[in-house]
């Protein structure tokens, strides 16, 4: 559903990623690791066209990125759930409305029961009416994950979604993503948390990718 072929990218200076390829197929589960500053976030941004590859081909749902208009990109993003590393919200709307925002923007009706269930799953049932600036760091990440999955998107791209939550909550969030994966969605998680990767491998057949020397490599069996 998301296809990168020989993609390169650099912020002005030398290339950060060069000749990177990846194909996210329905039902696939990927982890992305690599040292801090190696380009994980950059890679994810290339996937949802927040950045445009300087070389190579990117395809979203069969459409080549270069041929997509701004509206095409907006529509494609409705099929991609993104969890940013620094979770941003509409600070003037309560958590529940922020989580439901993708539905609102797409003009889809929201089902209050579904929303409640999702909020309860990520442990935000009691904070549903709080404003985002009143959330704790972990609560923000959970709200961001809830927002990313509420449309039940075809692809979920999550950037360090468990960096600020405790281990129990990490497993809970992981199981949500595993559940989606079993429904055929493609999942890609950038993380430093090796324990999380190990826990996931017990539940699904996840592939672990590692950025090294500007390349995407399959990580060894040590994980």
């Amino acid at each position: 559903m998301i296809e990168l072929k020989d993609v390169s990218y650099g912020y002005g200076g030398s290339d950060l990623l060069s000749g990177v390829s990846l194909s996210l197929q329905p039902g696939s589960f990927h982890f992305l690791t690599g040292p801090s500053g190696s380009g994980k976030t950059t890679f994810l941004r290339l996937c949802y066209l927040d950045l445009m590859a300087t070389a190579g081909r990117v395809e979203l749902f069969g459409q080549p990125a270069r041929k997509m208009t701004r509206d095409d990109i907006a529509h494609a993003r409705r099929r991609i759930g993104v969890v940013h590393q620094d979770c941003q919200f509409l600070d003037h709307l309560p958590v529940s409305q922020n989580v439901a925002l993708p539905l609102e923007v797409a003009g889809r009706p929201e089902n209050p029961a579904d929303l409640e269930e999702l909020l309860a799953w990520v442990g935000l049932a009691e904070r549903a009416d709080a404003l985002p600036p009143e959330l704790s760091g972990g609560e923000r990440q959970r709200a961001a994950l809830a927002r990313a999955v509420i449309m039940s998107p075809d692809v979920v791209l999550a950037d360090e979604p468990t960096g600020n939550v405790d281990w129990e909550m990490s497993l809970r969030l992981l199981s949500l993503l595993v559940e989606l994966n079993r429904m055929g969605k493609a999942i890609l998680i950038a993380t430093h948390d090796l324990n999380l990767i190990r826990a996931a491998k017990k539940q699904v057949s996840a592939r672990v990718l590692r950025i090294r020397d500007r390349q995407l490599q399959l990580a060894g069996a040590d994980l």
């Binding site: 927040d50 907006a74 993003r77 941003q88 925002l101």
Partner: protein
């Protein structure tokens, strides 16, 4: 799409919620629109009042001149006829008429009292000249009169009021210039305020783009808010300005040289145009600014 935008922007309040409802920039926009509308009302009133003034002065002058014919007893009739003939063939003269005795008496009364023995006096005859459009060429007429009726002297005494009309016209121009300046400054300020609101709401825009909102959806929310704010502000400013002018001490009582600063009849429609104009400016400014900002993001 562009045309439908205005309608959609006004009729579609749902997208509004995604933009923070208020804040300092909002207050700034509303206040700016109000203050500028207030000033515009004054400039408009000044312009209209001086326009009226110029018109009144011009019409009061009635564009008249006088030819005084004084000659030895026997020649008066001849010279009078000659002068009238000259005037008849002078371009710019609408009509020329010899004043009768009663009129001359009224004219002289302030100086000599009511009991003046007009018939025994060698009083000159007076011809009242009404100018047409364009006015007469005074110098040319003087030359011709000197040739044809040496006893006739042209006194375009009405000219002294001409500068008044010019002055009023200049004031009106000043008022118009002020309106143009105010309108321009308002447009620029609203544009800058819209830009600074958009810049301050960078996070809102990023979040909306992230969850797949189309540019038109995002722009609509901002455009609608700004249009409403500019409209509301300008409306408030206009109402205050009109009220201030209505409660101004009435000039009419101070002598009718200057007409009141208020609005008369159909002139009341002018201030009504301010708020919609401000709204249109805000609509265009915000829309352009919004799409510019949006296009700078991926």
């Amino acid at each position: 799409m562009r045309g439908a935008g205005l309608l959609a922007a006004v009729l579609y309040p749902r997208a509004d919620r995604v933009v923070p409802p208020s804040g300092h920039t909002a207050r700034l926009t509303i206040f700016t629109a109000a203050a500028m509308a207030f000033l515009a009302v004054f400039a408009l009133a000044l312009s209209l009042a001086t326009g009226r003034l110029a018109e009144r002065w011009a019409s009061e002058l009635a564009r008249t001149a006088t030819v005084r014919v004084s000659a030895p007893q026997g020649q008066v009739e001849t010279q009078l006829r000659a002068a009238l003939e000259v005037l008849r063939t002078t371009p710019g003269v609408a009509s020329a008429r010899v004043l009768d005795e009663a009129e001359e008496r009224a004219l002289l009364e302030p100086w000599f009292g009511p009991d003046l023995p007009l018939d025994t006096l060698p009083i000159p005859k007076l011809i009242e000249v009404i100018e047409g459009e364009p006015g007469i060429d005074a110098e040319g007429l003087r030359l011709r009169l000197r040739a044809e009726a040496p006893g006739a002297v042209l006194d375009d005494h009405t000219r002294w009021r001409q500068p008044l009309v010019k002055a009023a016209d200049r004031l009106r121009m000043l008022g118009l210039v002020a309106i143009v300046l105010i309108a321009g400054a308002t447009a620029a300020m609203i544009t800058l305020a819209a830009n600074s609101a958009l810049a301050a709401n960078g996070q809102v825009i990023r979040v909306l783009r992230l969850v797949g909102a189309r540019d038109s959806y995002i722009a609509r929310a901002f455009v609608r808010q700004f249009t409403l704010r500019a409209f509301a502000g300008a409306l408030a400013g206009t109402v205050l300005g009109v009220a201030a002018i209505a409660f101004l001490p009435d000039a009419e009582t101070a002598g009718n040289f200057l007409t009141g600063l208020g609005f008369r009849g159909a002139e009341w429609l002018w201030p009504l145009a301010i708020a919609p104009l401000a709204a249109v400016v805000a609509f265009v400014a915000t829309r352009v600014a919004a799409f510019r900002v949006l296009r700078s993001l991926t």
